[in-house]
Every structure is written in C-alpha cells, then in structure tokens.
Amino acid sequence: MSAVREALSPIPAAADTGWLPLPMNTMEQHAALPTLEHDERVRYQVAAGMNTFLAQRLLPAVQRAAVERVEPALEASLGRPAADRHEYRRGLERDLTWQLWSRLRRSNMEMVQQAARLTTLRQLPDLVATCRALNAGHDRLTLEPSLQPPGYLARLHSHLMPGGYVTDLGEDDVAAGATYELGVYAVLGGKSGPASDRAGRATVAWLQEHRPGWQPKRILDLGCGIGANTAAIARAFPDAEVVGVEAGAAMVRYGAARAASLGIDNLRFVQGDVEQPPLGDEKFDLVVSLMVLHETSRAALGRIFETSQRHLAQGGLTFHLEQPPYRDKPLIEQCLRDWDGRYNNEAFWSSMHETDLAEALRRAGFAPDHVQETEANAPQVGAKPGSQEDYGRGGAWYVVTGEKPRLEQVRA
C-alpha cells in the first residue's frame, strides 16, 4: 500500500483548481466562432484534462523511469552516459513508461484535432455565410488565389490538424481557421487566455518593458495564422496599422471575419508566403513572427529573416519569438521538449534547436551588435510558480531581435 502511495504523484488540494483546464465557453466569443453542442464542449474539455493528466500526473513517472531505468540501461550498453539527446531518446524509446505516455499524448492530440475538424465541417456552410457577411463590411482582407503554398505546409499538417493551414475547400472556405481556433484552445486548456493570445501579450509586455513609450506606426506579423496574437498587438497599439501575412486562404478569411466581429479595425490580413510576402516595398517599424519558425524549414528560416530585414523601416525592430533553445538543459528535458518535433508534426522544431537563430539573423543583414537574444513571457491562466511545466507548451519564450539603425545613426 505504501509503495502504491509512493508511486502515485500527488493531486493538488481540491481548493486549488488553477491546474485544471478551462471549459470551452471561457473562449472569447465572436460571431465567426463555431457553435458547440454539449458533448462537443465536454469532449474538448476531457481532452484538455487528459493533457493536464499527462503533464501533471504521469510525467513524473516518466522522469523517474528515465533516472531509475533508462540512464542505467544506457550506461550499461554504451559504457558511458548518453552523449546527446538523440542517444538518450533511443534509450527512452525502449522504456514502457515513455512508450505509454507518448502513445496517450499522441492519440489524444490526434483525437482533439479530428474532433475540431468534425465540429467545423458539420456547420461549414453556416460558418462560410457568417464570415462572408462579416468580411463584406470591410476591405481588410487580400487574397492571392494563385499562391503556391510552401511545400512544408502542404506535406506535413502542423500539430496534426487535418487539412493543415493551406487546404482550401473552395467557396470562401474557412474550415482551417475555425478548426485551428478550437484545437488550440482545447490543447492548451485555455491557458493561453480567452483569446489564445499569450504570445501576442508577451510581445506587448516585452516592448513595454524594453522600449517604454514606443508607438510603432506600422506593424507586420509574419505567419499570423488567424491573427489571435496579432489582434493582441493591434489592441495594444490602436493607432498603428497592423498587417498579418499567412499562406492559408481559409485561415485569413476566418481571421479577418474574427477581427471584424471583435471590432479590431486596425488589422489587415494578406494571404501570402512569409518567405516572399506580396507587400512590394512597404516598410514597417516592427516586424514579428510568433511561434512560426518551428513550422517552416531551414531554407525558409533564412528567407523569413531576409524578409524581416527588407520590410523593416530605419529605426525599426524585428522580433522573433520561439521555444527556448535546448542548449545546456538536461538530456531528459531536451527529449521532452523535442517530443512535439518528433511526434506532433512540427516540421522544423527539432533542427531549429540546433540552429543559431541570432547568427541566422546576422546573416540576413543585421549588424552583429544590433542582434540580441532575450526572453518574453506573459502569465499562463491559473499557473502557479513551481507547477509542473508541460514542456514545449508553456513557460517563457526565447526571443531574437534585430534593430535597423536610423540613417543618421549609421552616419554618426
């Protein structure tokens, strides 16, 4: 009995409910959002609860198994400790606890994304009509019907979302955008805030701390998705003109309708490839990408950074927010952080962590002393200090910034 109690990880006290996922009706409501029936709402909440269960309750067993079983087995077979996360992972992959935890995490992720797709498709004609009406009232949506989306978005559907970002079912389709919004909220259990915009709020908080009083006039968000984070930036800088670029037509149609319904009228959506956006020689004071790079490719990374340089106004700032680098972290933590890259269809996640993003930004034309590595954060809903982190889906973000000096600064 005591052995059982010892092996069970503790459940927080009943009065402490901050660790639980939030129900779907806590999402920020807008006219384009799919309607959810009772069982749909609960299914997402159960799936969110499963992620909580896997991160808070079962993960400690994985970590114990790593120390007590995997590491000794690796040392016995290699004659030394594992040298890197790849060797360590091969040890983990032979361990039953890791196999079970991974299987449950993957199956749950597949299930929630499939559920979101079904919720969206069953009411797609209504969603299309609603978004069409919302988008008829403004001119803040530019589509590019001839766009060939990047291969990495078509070949691999990020985080297991069926259809990915770039499937267009035609007839003003918005399915990808609606599926995305539901899926993100359920996967994160609402911890990214009612508008799923924690990265956007973290960007605003960073700017307020490091550039107090700065009011960028024009802002560009590369890979804006449905513009959830972009909207947080647009709300924080109501006098700025904000442009979001995204490859998926069904993403930007939905995003523009969403923003219109929320009354955010300083945000414009442009369908385009972030490597070569159709923006002519437009310049922006602030060029950001938020949790986008890991869904691209090594070749795309350089071109996205060159795009940032090309479209940045003098005196402007480019700001790229991503998962923290693995460097110097324990191998077990590296493997946990790498999980989404290997098993959750995040194309460039794993190799991005072997890439020096600051160096890549310098290669794109930013002067070495104008490139900075930093951190950004905004509180997760209900998170308590010291609570178990769901590696790769929470915590503070890594940021690399590049500044383009004003002409007079260059001359001086």
Partner: protein, 102 residues
Amino acid sequence: MSLDKDVLIQGTEPAAGPRPQFFDDPAMDRVWDVLVALTTELAVTRTRLDSLERILAEQGGLPAGVVDAWVADEATATEQALAHQELLTRVFRGLLQEKPSA
C-alpha cells in the same frame, strides 16, 4: 446529434505526415489509441448524465434541445473537470502505480 455521413468521411481524413509507432508491436499502438478515444467518450457520457441530472433537478422536466443549449457555470465546470481527473485516475491507475525500479 449524429453527423452527416459525408462530413464523417471527410472529417476522418488524417493529418498529412508520419504516424509514429511507440511499441514493438503495432497492435499495441492501435489498442491504446482506441482506449484513449473510449475513455474520452466515457467521460463525455458521464458528464452528459451529470448535466441531465442537474437540469432535471433544476427544471423538473426535460424539453428537447435543452441539454445542448445548457452551459455549465464556472463552479459546475470545475466540478466536472475534477470528475474527468478522477475518471482518468481510475482508468489509468495501472500506469500511475507502476514502479520504475520494479
């Protein structure tokens, strides 16, 4: 509410990309995949019953469509989320009890 057959077919197209195998025997992966879905559906059903009981108690009757229109208030949603954790603990008890050193 049951889904239209075409929606069901279109909506079960998988995401493009590889499907990992975690166990030596692929049948194990399939069984666990089904178990996760079954557990979720059981939780959904239990919650629906719970919601029904609450609605019946509140209204003394059950007009059509009222369950789908009903939204749990904050305290109820928290109670139901705790019930999900209890169910997961019951279903996956064996995993939680596993002794790594055994």
